[in-house]
């Protein structure tokens, strides 16, 4: 874990209430998420890392409350204090040959970095991305650039398969030996219960410290209590109790 100042290089609206923020700085690499201090707010905001290379962090976030609203109004050139190197992320090694990535809404961004890593290892990547409607779709082109196959579902049917990610999977029948999922808890529960074979899910929980010492985000697993921020946020399907 490292605490350092980052400069906002980009902060732009990419879909309904959804922003892409690029930060430049010298924190530590690795880790699944960063924890951003927002001026005027007591606790930091944990955001998953969508991309990370040479001092540039790409984050995608949605305005869901006052803190993220303030974040969305910050100008390029502004400074943010960021804790980097937090959390245990997806394990690309767990997949042998063919990976199935299942993302829903704001769970989609961290899967992009995973897709890149899987491709770098020469693995076949199928990404199934689910959204409510067309104007909430994010990162579709970015996924097409690093995946072998991209399936999209929307609840209103405006783009791709009408329904949920599971409907797109049933329709597309992608072959895989390991799956990775991130999205709303209810979606991940359905995905973990419906998909055959091993996989892992990136959980969401309201956090305190973000670094494993306040025990504010503990969940019960089949292996006992685990901290979402430190032992996770990614957990093996077999560990989880839904």
């Amino acid at each position: 874990m490292n605490k350092s100042l980052y400069t906002i290089a980009e902060n732009s609206l990419i879909a309904t209430k959804t922003y892409k923020m690029v930060l430049e700085g010298n924190g530590v690499e690795g880790g699944e998420f960063v924890d951003i201090g927002i001026p005027g707010y007591f606790l930091r905001r944990p955001l998953s890392v969508c991309d990370c290379e040479e001092g540039r962090l790409t984050l995608v976030y949605k305005v869901v409350g006052e803190g993220t609203k303030v974040l969305s109004e910050m100008a390029v050139g502004g400074k943010l204090e960021v804790l980097t190197g937090l959390g245990r992320g997806f394990d690309p090694e767990a997949c042998r040959e063919r990976a199935l990535l299942v993302g829903g809404g704001l769970g989609v961004p961290p899967l992009l970095l995973l897709a890149k890593r899987l491709k770098a290892q020469g693995k076949h990547v199928t990404a199934v991305l689910g959204f409510n409607k067309a104007d909430e779709i994010i990162l579709a082109d970015e996924f097409r650039a690093v995946s072998d196959e991209v399936l999209i579902s929307t609840v209103d049917g405006s783009v791709g398969e009408k329904g949920f990610v599971t409907d797109a999977i049933v329709a597309g029948k992608p072959a895989y030996d390991y799956f990775y999922t991130c999205g709303p808890m209810v979606m991940m529960k359905v995905v973990c219960n419906a998909l055959e074979g091993p996989g892992e899910a990136s959980l969401e929980e309201r956090m305190g410290c973000g670094a494993g010492f306040c025990y504010g985000c503990s969940i019960q697993t089949k292996n006992g209590p685990r901290r979402v921020c430190k032992d996770g946020p990614v957990f093996k399907k077999e560990e989880l109790i839904w």
Partner: protein, 303 residues
């Protein structure tokens, strides 16, 4: 001139007065890879009970203006793991004052856990939590009346040779009467204050933010109230006080010491800045220079 940051708690020398408060620094080990723990005067470990506890359901955290509410509910691995694993492991990397924080649901539980902590070589001070707002039929129930606070103090003192500090709740009408009752029952010191019982409501979901509805409010916003209580108690009692509540800067530390605290605990600030304690300790010498203070001991309770 070299500044003397050291303070003395019941004969135990702390290299500086900065102590992460119980529940806001885990068992110390969680942060051992991220900082040099040895810059800390002491570490108050996470509240521990007889049996392992998972704690309360989530969400356990709610943000507030100037602070936060927590309702962790004493998640801990139990006293045997504390004395058998956590403390020995921490002792290998930390040479400062280790404070075990003990909670309980009955007098017997307090006695049994404190006796085990007393027998554990690595522990220097036993802090008895009679003020946790997040568990029912225990914790705070013991700390909200002078009679029961005295009863716990006497019971624990009977089984301990190490210094025993009682950690007091601010959720009381008259904290001074409870502090005096603990002192009269044999307490070696007092830690105050624990969190203020608070609540937030999610107005969209129309439900409490915290799964357990209420929790303990702490953070910068409570500093003036905590300081006032430390001032009142320190001036009414002879035993040393560890001041706690909303401390976020070196200036706050000096203020707490002037109010009467011998050591100062930093709590919720650690959750927004894991490096708060080392940063505060590092900022103290320059502040002392600015204020013409040569030794922190010299300003304890001088206001």
């Amino acid at each position: 001139m070299v500044k003397d940051l050291s303070v003395d708690l019941c004969g135990i020398r702390l290299k500086n007065p900065v102590v992460p408060a119980s529940g806001t620094f885990g068992f110390g080990l969680e942060l051992a890879g991220d900082m040099d723990l040895n810059v800390l005067g002491g570490i108050s470990l996470k509240g521990t009970t007889r049996e392992a506890r998972y704690g309360n359901p989530t969400p356990r955290i709610a943000e507030c203006e100037g602070g936060m509410i927590n309702s962790v509910g004493l998640q801990n691995p139990g006293i045997d793991v504390l004395v058998g694993e956590k403390v020995p492991s921490l002792r290998k990397v930390y040479d400062g004052c280790i404070i075990a924080n003990i909670s309980g649901f009955s007098l017997d539980e307090y006695k049994e856990c404190c006796a085990k902590a007393d027998a554990c070589e690595g522990i220097d001070i036993i802090e008895v939590n009679i003020s946790c707002p997040n568990v029912h039929n225990g914790g705070m129930a013991f700390g909200t009346s002078a009679a029961s606070a005295a009863e716990v103090t006497a019971a624990v003192k009977a089984v301990c040779r190490k210094p025993v500090f009682l950690k007091l709740s601010p959720n009381v009408t008259d904290i001074v009467s409870i502090a005096r009752a603990c002192e009269d029952a044999g307490a070696d010191g007092l830690t105050l204050v624990n969190t203020f019982l608070g609540m937030r409501i999610d107005i969209v979901r129309r439900k409490p933010v915290i799964a357990n509805k209420m929790g303990g409010f702490s953070g910068r916003a409570i500093f003036p109230i905590a300081l006032r209580m430390v001032y009142q108690v320190a001036h009414a009692c002879k035993i040393p006080v560890m001041g706690c509540g909303g401390v976020a800067t070196a200036r706050d530390v000096v203020e707490m010491i002037m109010a009467g605290a011998t050591a100062v605990q930093v709590g919720a600030e650690n959750l927004r800045n894991p490096f708060a304690c080392p940063e505060i300790a590092a900022a103290l010498p320059a502040l002392m220079d600015e204020l013409n203070i040569n030794a922190l001991k010299d300003i304890i309770g001088t206001v």
